[in-house]
Subunit: 403 residues, 2 copies
Amino acid sequence: MPMTYDDFKQLGIRLDMSRGKPSAEQLDLSRALLDEAGTMGYLSRDGIDCRNYGHLLGLPEAREFGAELLGAPAAQVVAAGNSSLELMHDVLAFAMLFGVPGGEAWRKRGEIALLCPVPGYDRHFAICEALGIRMINVPMHDDGPDMDFVEAQVAADPSIKGMWCMPLYSNPSGAIYSDAVVRRLAAMPAAAADFRLLWDDAYRFHHLTPQLHTTLNVLDACEAAGHEDRALVFASLSKVTFGGGALAFLASSQRNVAWWQQRVAVRTIGPDKLNQLRHVRYLRDRAGLERLMERHRALLSPKFAAITAAFDAQLGDLPDVTWNQPAGGYFISLYTPPGVAKRTVALAAEAGLVLTPAGAAYPYGRDADDRHLRIAPTFPSLDEVRLAAQGIALSLRRALQVA
Amino acid sequence: MPMTYDDFKQLGIRLDMSRGKPSAEQLDLSRALLDEAGTMGYLSRDGIDCRNYGHLLGLPEAREFGAELLGAPAAQVVAAGNSSLELMHDVLAFAMLFGVPGGEAWRKRGEIALLCPVPGYDRHFAICEALGIRMINVPMHDDGPDMDFVEAQVAADPSIKGMWCMPLYSNPSGAIYSDAVVRRLAAMPAAAADFRLLWDDAYRFHHLTPQLHTTLNVLDACEAAGHEDRALVFASLSKVTFGGGALAFLASSQRNVAWWQQRVAVRTIGPDKLNQLRHVRYLRDRAGLERLMERHRALLSPKFAAITAAFDAQLGDLPDVTWNQPAGGYFISLYTPPGVAKRTVALAAEAGLVLTPAGAAYPYGRDADDRHLRIAPTFPSLDEVRLAAQGIALSLRRALQVA
């Protein structure tokens, strides 16, 4: 007899699937980064004493490593602290307070808006909400945002100052921006002269299949379109080595990097160069990073497969229930029939399974249709993921009142 | 025959005395923090995996360590990233954008002002200048700011939202705030209900004499005076272990810490807990930190003594030339006769000796009397410091056109 929701509840499990955190096994992959930390020294290639202050934009070899990873000149890459979210927050905070090159302080205008492809990353939306930036939902397709909608909005409305983009394995839809989409984003006319693409390349190396997808270099595309200051690219090594224990990168035009330098010179004397040095010596180069990411993939792809296999088996018969099979990234999106997502999350919680709150992937936490669930399979063990997938399916069936 | 300025210039030295950086010998004191990094593990006392995301306000034992150092409950101490300057910047940026508890966003008022004891820390002033905060100079005495002036200003002017304070071994005057001054700062009526003391306790453990000076606990004093939200205390371990490679602390009232938490929750998922763990395991406790600071003192006090001995010998005959002998901190202030400081710095530069620009210790870099020089003796070797002191003295004599 197949398991019922009540059977599942009886198991008394306690499992948190709410955040996209790496698992302990993934963190163990970079064991050498810790074990050999005592042997990595403190003098950089150029003799910089990484134990002392300075180097505002990062250790030269860390910037060069970022340049290799992001496909930008090292002079246009900043190697920063432990969080790319901080860099995104600060770009927007600085934009509000001081403006970006080519425009006045955003706070001096009345309303400011950003385009937000949905579903999207809740922490992007939280920054906008905190700063009082209006969010405009943009429909997402498998090849990126709905560009007809985006172009029409951006051309018409000077209060739209930018757009969030997660070009590869977009959180949480798994979308991969096509070359055509990237080119249109780079080239489209904008009513706001200081319009910016906030290009969060969070999953650039986080493949789940043997096909290592890439997206078009947005900095090159913007430059080719005559909008060289349009894109700010963000990335981090948190899901490569240690969550919150690695370093983050910002890459952009010379003018934007000079602007960033001017703003952060007031804020800090420089990043933790010792951790940058350790990372460069441990990962060595892009090939070293990619070898490590293959080992992440070996741990992660079975978890993602377990989720979709369980959904195939247990939700395949339900009309209007769909999910994606992402080729990379950290999330699966599960779409319920309208009006059932919140109830599913509540039922899962009653059974001991903490899911991301329904609606979290939408600005202000509001999924008007109440049908999107974000599943984060990375942190629990494979056995736990299998169990969780079953629990999610059973919670959804119970929410739908189908056996 | 004693050396002349021209003799000194002939030496062709190249020496940078412009910033308060620790020397390589000081950094070597914490060699074990690097050498043993591979053996310090990643699991906190409570089993937290420091390799993963989370713990927004810091690792519990890092917060407890900060609490022991700063004399505040651990729940009111934030253990953060690698820079206390960042914390100060962000407090003011958040205040501009959102306001602090008890007040509206500062940007919504017309003019905002902060009181700035002078001479003071140039980076404090740079933050104000960037944020468009007007700076009001406050005269300093050996026991702290001129409190009659401060009280009169703060009581009368609601645009004055706060005041920079470096209570112990103030940069660069070496002043030590007396208990009476701290109590008056805590108790004084303020026209702005959201008035804040930005309490930069940068040199709390940085003694240069056997007498380990302390200042009154400002959080307690504010609470006793009924102004428990008035003070925000900042400190860092950058000049204890590694410049820019350590961690910073923020301590304040429950309400201010809750406010901070709300603001930074949008900005980051948490600090680098691995570095926090390493620091707590290396320093152990306050006694461990104080033992280390004694070794810093053994390296630093001869350098400070060399400066003042050289000034005694070479400048003692000059009227209107004075300098302080600080009991702690990183700087010596040299006061020239009016109108000569800039010229002295230029002459020193011509002889290969880079000093902090004259006026740097004043808001907008403007020392109206052009008479203050900030000397930073920590980074060069003792021999270099001796030579530099001679060079400074000879440059000043040449600027004064005395032999």
